[in-house]
Symmetry: C2
Subunit: 336 residues, 2 copies
DNA sequence: GGCGATGCTGAAAGCGATTGCATTGGGCCT
DNA sequence: AGGCCCAATGCAATCGCTTTCAGCATCGCC
């Protein structure tokens, strides 16, 4: 491979001068600059970025670790970060853990090894040990839904409870008092928070409200089975609240197969507002977590160089918003 | 930040020894190794990967450039590559160009700068200059749907024509002879190849076949408008072939709004088999490009170290498969 | 004509690892 | 006891770049 020196020799200058031309710093005589640029072009020279970030002080790249790029939530957050960063000349490197803790650890090590300027952990399989290690360290960090803010760590917390309240309140005003919940015991805090919040919000809204739970499966098929369980167990709820959109779509499928009309016979809600929610039939009423808000916060916390960095060390709370579509309507009057 | 030397000093050994412990090479006395490991743990030391890849000969990371991670096709290919690579201890770095040629160029420069072991370009906005430069260079490269194989460049080409033939043949056996095509003039070769293939396959299947085109818009709304155009122009086709799934979904939406039943009144097909195709209503009959096949080929071409690399320099042709779902059925007998 | 200021360029010291070669010291053979 | 060998470790060069400091013309000015 070629190096600065090759270029320098060909242009009959020192490596220092080539470097200056490359970075546009200092003043280089126009004729010299031209000679150097020609040499660079002739040789198709590309600077070695490893050497550059080894030698240079600043490292304009930030790291983002997410659970799974498949999940549109993580993808959107990542893209928001990326777009902000590119606008300011930062690079982003992303890693996904596939929800595996040991992969999380490996990714963190990798990011530290790359000496990123800052690191954002937007994952659901959070590991306490890692959180602590990062908190004790020096590197600017953004933690999502975990840990504590202060110093070099920014915390973003999502108020899931509030999101659930929005759903329940909305359904209550439509006359619903008889709810079913579809969720799962994954041990993931965000999910269990949602499950619990349904119970509490429902009671808060209306003391007579009933809530039936089906919490034993995950994914589309899980939603389907859970819906089936709810249907076969005595009277039918008038509304089914699902802790994520995928399960809600599964429920929709099952209801359709059983000849129930949504929302006339029964209302269904999801959580997350994935793309599918817009296009499934009927389009899903759900809860949206403002993803670009999360992304922008990450950028503002980590890109300390770029006039940003004002957000570092603070705690941010993001409030989910209700998105009303077609899968919800007034409670039916009578049993089916 | 800490360095090897810090660790070395603390463990009262030389940096060479620490390096050996770190990499598990050579023989280090057990007691020494223990001392070093303790020092590493105490200091929470993480090796600087830039320095490592500068000093070391081998660089076990490969680069993947895609047009847009939003697009499930690109995402799936990327994930297939990543999973293969991680299994063999390779890292993957990904860049998306958002379909912008200048971003493509920047990403290529970045990858070269990082001295990746190999580079895969899976983009639709291909730039001839870049292809040529890469072809003339040294680095192992995988090109998707462009360029020529040989030496250090692997080519993957997708037989779109064949995919379209599958669709048209299938519809023909269902009795369709009156087609509408929804596509767009994007200048993207894969898209125009599909548009053209429809015309030719239809004529090949049945000389009396008619094909009406609506090629002026893109995206979901574009598909919607194109469907509207097709509807308002004289007699209705019995089948609408869309060049991608997004536009097909748009068409479905428009047809539904106009009171047409799919597939009873009219059949609709897509292309790409994105996730949405499975969940929209009715589920879309479409064409799937085997993504993991593409991903595995990338890995086998680029990860020359890992017992792979046998695929480098060859040309691979991947054949799309027809995926029949619910949006297609027998041609209706009479005009509506 | 001498002198500091100014503009450009070069020499060389790191940055943090890897690695070939030199060194050391103990065990074993004769 | 002397010589050898090999295991274990250290020394120092190297990778490709940035950056400080110094050097050398050239220039304007008194």
């Amino acid at each position: 491979m070629m190096s600065l020196e090759t270029v320098a020799k060909r242009a009959r200058v020192s490596t220092a001068t080539v470097s200056r031309v490359l970075n546009g710093v200092d003043v280089v005589k126009t004729s010299t600059r031209a000679r150097v640029m020609k040499a660079i072009a002739d040789l198709k020279y590309h600077p070695n970025l490893h050497a550059r970030s080894l030698a240079g002080a600043v490292n304009k790249t930030i790291g983002v670790i997410v659970s799974n790029l498949d999940n549109p939530f993580f993808l959107d957050v990542y893209r928001a970060v990326e777009s902000d960063c590119h606008a300011e000349g930062y690079e982003v490197i992303v890693a996904n853990t596939l929800y595996r803790p040991e992969q999380l650890a490996a990714s963190v090590r990798m990011m530290i090894g790359r000496r990123v300027a800052g690191l954002a952990l937007i994952v659901s399989e959070m590991d306490e040990g890692i959180v602590q290690e990062l908190t004790e360290g020096q590197m600017p960090v953004v933690l999502y839904d975990v840990g504590a803010a202060g110093g070099h760590v920014t915390k973003i917390r999502v108020n899931y409870r509030r999101g659930v309240e929005r759903v329940v309140d909305y359904l209550t005003t439509l006359g619903h008092t008889d709810f079913g919940v579809i969720g799962h015991h994954s041990g993931l805090a965000p999910i269990s928070e949602r499950c619990n919040a349904v119970l509490e919000s429902a009671r808060a809204s209306d003391p007579r409200a009933t809530v039936r739970q089906a919490l034993d499966a995950d994914g589309l098929e899980g939603g389907r089975r859970a819906a089936a369980d709810l249907l076969s167990a005595g009277t039918l709820p008038t509304a089914i609240i699902c802790v994520n959109d995928i399960m809600a779509v599964g429920a929709l499928l099952e209801l359709r197969d059983r000849g129930l009309r949504v929302p006339r016979d029964i209302s269904v809600t999801g959580f997350d507002d994935i793309e599918l929610a817009k296009f499934c039939y009927p389009a899903l009423t759900t809860v949206n977590i403002p993803r670009d808000q999360v992304g922008h916060t990450v950028f503002r916390s980590l890109a300390v160089g770029a006039g940003a960095g004002d957000a570092l060390g603070r705690e941010f709370s993001v409030n989910p918003e209700l998105v009303v579509r077609e899968s919800t309507g007034p409670a039916r009057a009578s049993a089916i």
